[in-house]
């Protein structure tokens, strides 16, 4: 039965992944609020359910029942499409992220813990993640509001600029492994994680990851003290929630990619004996990166826009190119 292996299994896996990610988004927002509250020495959400655990559900319901307001001068088609364009690419990236090398068999069909091991997985992740920019640009433009448009313009220039240093960080990994497949990259880290081999690369990846997902201190598209709320100014209700969903899923994607590329993916103690432990290690490492991102948000003030651009073009990009050059030389001489 060819169609089971070819269509049904990937479909079910994708469905499980989407459900997990959407639940993950809801609880990530809870975790972030709780953590930031602790950093501020507050309690955070603690009313809905024990420890406020039902807060995301309450928020979701509230968003669903809000009145649907569409500005009269908005470009309706793109105004409605933009939130979806933000969410879908963020979900699509997960098709290539290998969670574990553990696999089991059901009725003779092998089930692996990744959707596909794409030959060009790294490039795919980069290409698809970048498409999310369109959602933000279109959202800002179609709202027909000056603050939204300015926020959208800022985002497009920020995302275009920071994808270059991110590319250099990925390039140095590529030079070491010699393969674009994410499974190969994780397998190459069996002995030594790349964070120790490429500390500079990890730093650049982490900083550009913050900028690409519009996280603090690079959350300029939505600076509330100058742009009201940036590109989400005219959005409300469930469409507003979708923009946030896109941001949080991108945050998880960035963390998962950081885990895959620099933190050894599923590798950890006793994985060889008990491969199922790999899933646990992957989630643990990913949560550590997510925690780091939230910690940065609670600690650092927002940068100014000219500082943002200057930092990217005058510091990060030369640093990244230098890193690639050193890596390439070392690989060519002793690789």
């Amino acid at each position: 039965m060819d169609w089971i292996a070819g269509l049904l299994i990937p479909f079910v896996k994708a469905l499980v992944l989407v459900v997990l990610l959407l639940t993950g988004f809801a609880y990530l927002s809870y975790v972030e609020r709780k953590l930031v509250a602790r950093f501020h020495v507050r309690y955070g959400p603690n009313r809905a359910g024990p420890f406020g655990l039902l807060q995301p559900i309450a928020d979701g319901l509230k968003m669903l029942f809000k009145e649907e307001i569409i500005p009269r001068h908005a470009d309706k088609l793109f105004y409605l499409m933009a939130p979806a364009i933000v969410v879908v690419p963020a979900l699509l990236v997960w098709a290539v992220i290998p969670i574990s090398n553990f696999s089991f068999r059901i009725f003779g069909y092998e089930i692996t813990f990744y959707l596909t091991d794409l030959n060009i997985g790294l490039l795919y992740a980069l290409a698809v993640a970048e498409l999310g920019t369109y959602g933000i640009i279109l959202g800002g433009w179609s709202s027909n509001n000056k603050y939204a448009l300015l926020g959208a313009l800022r985002t497009s220039s920020q995302m275009l600029s920071y994808s270059l240093p991110m590319g250099t960080a990925l390039l140095s990994i590529l030079a070491v492994v010699g393969s674009l497949s994410l499974v190969d990259i994780v397998n190459a880290q069996r002995g030594l994680w790349f964070i120790f081999l490429q500390p500079l690369g990890f730093l650049i990846y982490f900083i550009t990851g913050l900028a690409e997902t519009n996280r603090s201190p690079f959350d300029l598209p939505e600076t509330e003290n100058e742009l009201v709320a940036g590109f989400v100014t005219e959005y409300g209700g469930i469409k507003f929630a979708l923009f946030y969903m896109g941001e949080y899923i991108s945050m998880m994607t960035t963390s998962a990619l950081a885990t895959t590329l620099f933190l050894g993916g599923w590798w950890g103690p006793f994985v060889d004996e008990l491969p199922i432990l790999g899933i646990f290690y992957f989630v643990l490492k990913m949560s550590a990166v997510v925690f780091l991102i939230i910690w940065v948000r609670a600690s650092l003030p927002r940068v100014r826009f000219d500082q943002l651009m200057g930092f990217c073009w005058k510091f990060l990009l030369p640093l990244g190119l230098f890193n690639v050059m050193v890596t390439a030389t070392v690989v060519a001489l002793w690789g």
């Binding site: 169609w3 794409l118 030959n119 060009i120 290409a127 920019t133 640009i137 433009w141 220039s157 674009l180």
Partner: protein, 205 residues
């Protein structure tokens, strides 16, 4: 299985590609044109995927869909070319030239497509070699052995473009520097410190 859905999938992608391509030319709003172009690029990438050219497909998305169209949209928003484009009602000389050139290009491309059966040229890499090494490695090997000269020439071309852009910006700086110098020589009220500094860099370049 895959072959079974490939045929209808091709027609779906092809129809969307043609529709979006005509949308680029026919839509009256510049942003809609740019977004039609985006849809067209993504459909083109899907066509590459169906030909098993995964690398080219992704590069198509990275370079054209992610970078070039974002820049288009960016410039359109920044320059305010967002409103409706007026219709040209008369047959201007401009339009006649465009029509003739467009027709010629269509004839050339059409005749090539008609003459050469689809399937294209085949390189030295066999299907086995591709499966063994992965497509990127094979592509890299081919580019840097058989087509090395072309790659190097393309690199030089891009370098020329880069230098050209630098010269254009510096030209503007130098002219401003000379103007400031002349103002200084003629005993005009002294320019600001920033302008003086730019005149120095202008002299050096």
């Amino acid at each position: 299985m895959i072959e079974m859905i490939q045929h209808p999938l091709f027609w779906l992608v092809a129809v969307i590609a043609v529709l979006s391509a005509s949308g680029v030319v026919l839509s009256r709003n510049a942003i809609y044109s740019a977004l039609s172009l985006l849809a067209n690029f993504i459909m083109l990438a899907a066509l590459y995927l169906m030909l098993n050219a995964q690398f080219i497909a992704i590069v198509q998305v990275v370079v054209y869909a992610d970078a070039v169209v974002v820049l288009f949209v960016f410039v359109e928003m920044l320059l305010g070319a967002v409103g409706r484009i007026p219709v040209v009602e008369r047959l201007t000389p401009h339009l006649i030239v465009a029509l003739v050139v467009g027709f010629l290009i269509m004839v050339i491309v059409g005749s090539v497509v008609y003459e050469v059966p689809i399937g294209g040229a085949r390189g030295s890499a066999t299907q086995q070699a591709i499966n063994q090494a992965g497509q990127v490695q094979v592509l890299g090997m081919t580019l840097f052995t058989d087509y090395l000269l072309a790659v190097e020439l393309a690199g030089v071309l891009m370098l020329v473009g880069l230098v050209g852009a630098l010269v254009l910006t510096h030209q503007w700086r130098r002219e401003r520097g000379i103007r400031v110098q002349r103002a200084n020589r003629e005993g005009m009220p002294s320019a600001s410190a920033g302008a003086n500094r730019s005149s120095l860099t202008g002299n050096r370049s």
